[in-house]
Amino acid sequence: MNLILLFDVFLIAALLLVSWRLLGASDLFQATVLFISFGLFLSLAWIRLGAPDIALAEAAVGAGLAGVLLFGTFKGLEPGADRENDSFTSEPCRLDPISPCPGKIHLLLAFTCVGSLTTLLVLAVLDLPATGDGLTPMVSQFLERSGVEHPVTAVLLNFRFYDTWLELGVLVAAVLGILCVRNRFDLRELKVLQAPDVMLRRLVMGLAPTMALVVVYLLWLGDHAPGGAFQAGVVLAAMLVLLWFSGHASITGLSRMLWLFCLIAGFAVMLLVAVVSALWPEMRPLEFPEEWSAMIILGVEVVATLSIGVALSSLAILSLGAVDDPGGS
């Protein structure tokens, strides 16, 4: 027991230290590396808090995909061949060369705000009732009518189906927004900035099937254990981004129509369930018959995994990809 306590203390200390160093880092590269390690420590903390589902998502999104995006952005900002001036390294505190560096007043103000918010939150958390299970007992009571055995999946894909459906809509909106930023309609011809390395190509070639297997495993796991569409989707996204980074065929090879289908399939299938249930006379909206719920949930999860994977990898590729001819984008 003491060992666990020691581990917890170490974890908290590490989280605080890493976040402190991260905020104080003057070098963006260092800050990015620290951010990724912060995400990993945080996912360990989620495991200690007994929330493996969130730990998986945090490790994959918070440390993995966010890390890729940050590194990619860093590469884009780095003074390279096309940027003669090295103002970036001389004044590391800012990304926008026009705006001034934050002064002492700004820092003081920021610390006061963050400090008072933290104090307030600590007070509020200390005030929380000690015995609050929330809706957990109720979820376990209705679990057998939900069609799955894992309570988190039951909540996400049956009791609060509406929320999950809208979350997939959020992903679609995000991708559509980035398409506007890049002024594009699809992902075709988006290339990596640097030519991929041969070793990397081979390595990823070997890794991809294993990752595909993990996707299927996580998806299947969601039925009765921590896992499911979101976790599987993120691993799928990681696989697609890795394949793209190493110069293999990835979603950039898909035609516009096919890519769009994959992107909105999850949202559209859940929309279809909603429309059918709204048209069905004896059903409430978004209700499905109990004997079919296992099948419907599985179907929705498979399609949602595909959509989440494609959406997240599209976000990364759209943010980081470059077009060969400079006038084309």
Binding site: L123, V125, V170
Partner: protein, 499 residues
């Protein structure tokens, strides 16, 4: 009452279809979805008129476990405003985005995002669950940011990024509040929460965080910084939607959080101070927003600052309703606020669409370039004038009815100090409206500006919106009669009972 869900389903179906459809068919499909949504929304208003509120438990799961949709007078009126503005903006977008290949490409991006936004907004009006409200706010925010940066110009990208960061910060604060309230009470549903919330440190913190987040999203004074650049740099149909509808959705949620979920806190003594604070911030917003609007020399920026000012009036409802000697006058306060919201929505949509026409005709929205416009573009100038009259609050417009009701509510509540805000705010509004109109009548010196042609439909839509705004003023009684379910929703007497 299962057809409630269709106001969310139809725009989403339209969005998916528009995304996959061929570029040429997008407008027709989008309009079909818009008209369908309008019909369902009108049907829901009729339903509220006849049977008061309705409640649907999604998925057949009873509320603590599942999510419920709640339709009452307030939601019905918001649905109606969104549908009317939505359909008219859609018609405008049809001809706006048909003019050049670049605009056509932009239009094929506009429709999926706009319908996604519409579905999200309708969802917000119907939602009865604090977490569900968060997801709906996210979908609306992301779609709205996507629409802001539709043109891809540098100015719009900068404005969009600022909007995104401010809105995300607001969502994050709101979500922190949701987490605290769920940890404290184990409930997420509006009604169940309103029964379970008692004034404690954690509930007060949650209340503060949620309200703070929503204030950022509703652009109340110190948090308005993101609004003018975002609303002024978007394409005209988008600006109209952003100013007329999107900021109001978070205000709607604020009303529900304040008067339903945390009724026991905001209604009692602890609610007095924050209510007054919101009133003060609202008044400052009226002055500051209008003052900044008067100072602008670009038309779209002027209209965007006017939104900051006009939103301020909405926040007067908090101190008015918090007054202890206000029994029996709730209907006035609610009526005035809803009327203002409606008239501002219609007038602001009209102004932004008219500004879009002017921008296209002149190639710039610099006020000083608008010489001799009144004679050459009479319809657009007329729309600007009529919508301006309603903003100022002159009879016989809806804006007049709104300000009159608000003024009476303020006096009835014994808080006379808000009355000068309403009157002086109207004067400042008059100043910037006349600033616009004055420029249009100045005869041009020397060579006249060459004007590009504007399609007829594009000039008629703002006119239709402005005329609707005035007609609503003539038909004030009917609109107020639709409100009976609204005034009581704050007091929990009606409309919020479990079926």
């Amino acid at each position: 009452m299962n057809q409630v869900i269709w106001v969310v389903l139809l725009p989403f179906v339209g969005s998916v279809v528009c995304l996959l459809a061929h570029r040429k068919a997008v407008f027709a499909l989008g309009m079909a979805a818009s008209l369908g949504t309008l019909i369902v929304s009108v049907g829901l208003v009729a339903h509220v008129w006849e049977h008061a509120s309705a409640r649907v438990e999604l998925g057949g799961w009873a509320t603590p476990l599942g999510i419920a949709l709640h339709l009452d007078g307030l939601s019905a009126l918001f649905l109606l405003l969104t549908a009317v503005v939505g359909v008219l903006v859609g018609i405008q977008a049809g001809s706006y985005f048909a003019q050049s290949p670049e605009l056509r490409a932009m239009g094929s991006r506009f429709w999926p995002l706009w319908l996604l936004l519409w579905g999200g907004l309708n969802g917000v009006y119907l939602c009865s669950d604090v977490f569900n409200a968060y997801v709906l706010l996210e979908i609306s925010t992301l779609a709205a940011v996507g629409l802001t940066i539709l043109s891809g110009s540098t100015a719009s990208l900068v404005a969009g990024l600022r909007y995104l960061l401010a809105a995300m910060f607001g969502s994050f604060m709101y979500l922190l509040g949701v987490a605290l309230i769920y940890a404290g009470t184990g409930q997420l549903d509006f009604l169940l929460l309103s029964r379970g919330v008692t004034p404690q440190v954690h509930t007060l913190t949650a209340f503060g965080l949620m309200v703070f987040g929503l204030l950022i999203k509703s652009a109340l004074l110190p948090f308005h910084f993101w609004l003018p650049p975002a609303h002024s740099s978007a394409p005209a149909p988008v600006s109209a939607v952003l100013s007329a509808l999107v900021v109001k959705a978070s205000f709607f949620l604020l009303l529900k959080i304040w008067f339903v979920v945390f009724e026991s806190i905001s209604g009692g003594t602890p609610g007095g101070m924050p209510s007054q604070l919101l009133g003060i911030l609202g008044s400052l917003a009226v002055f500051w927003g209008s003052f900044q609007a008067v100072r602008q020399s670009r038309l779209k920026l002027l209209i965007a600052y006017s939104t900051v000012g006009q939103l301020g009036y909405l926040f007067l409802i908090f101190p008015i309703l918090a007054s202890p000697d206000f029994q029996g006058h709730e209907a006035l306060a609610w009526g005035g606020t809803i009327f203002h919201l409606f008239s501002h929505g219609l007038a602001k949509a009209s102004l932004f669409l008219a500004a879009g026409c002017l921008l296209q005709a002149m190639g710039t929205d610099d006020l000083h370039a608008m010489r001799d416009i009144a004679g050459r573009l009479p319809v657009i100038t007329f729309s600007l004038g009529v919508a301006g009259v309603s903003l100022m609050g002159l009879p016989p417009s809806a804006g007049f009815v709104a300000k009159w009701m608000l003024l009476r509510a303020v006096l009835a509540s014994g808080q006379w100090w808000w009355a000068p805000v309403i009157v002086l705010g109207g004067l400042l509004t008059a100043a910037y409206v006349f600033k616009i109109l004055a420029h249009t009548f100045v005869p041009s010196e020397g060579e006249a500006l060459r004007l590009n042609s504007v399609p007829l439909v594009m000039t008629l839509v703002p006119l239709a919106l402005a005329i609707l705004c005035v007609l609503m003023g003539f038909r004030a009684d009917e609109v107020i009669a639709l409100l009976p379910a609204v005034p009581h929703f704050g007091t929990g007497k009606n409309g919020w009972e479990m079926p």
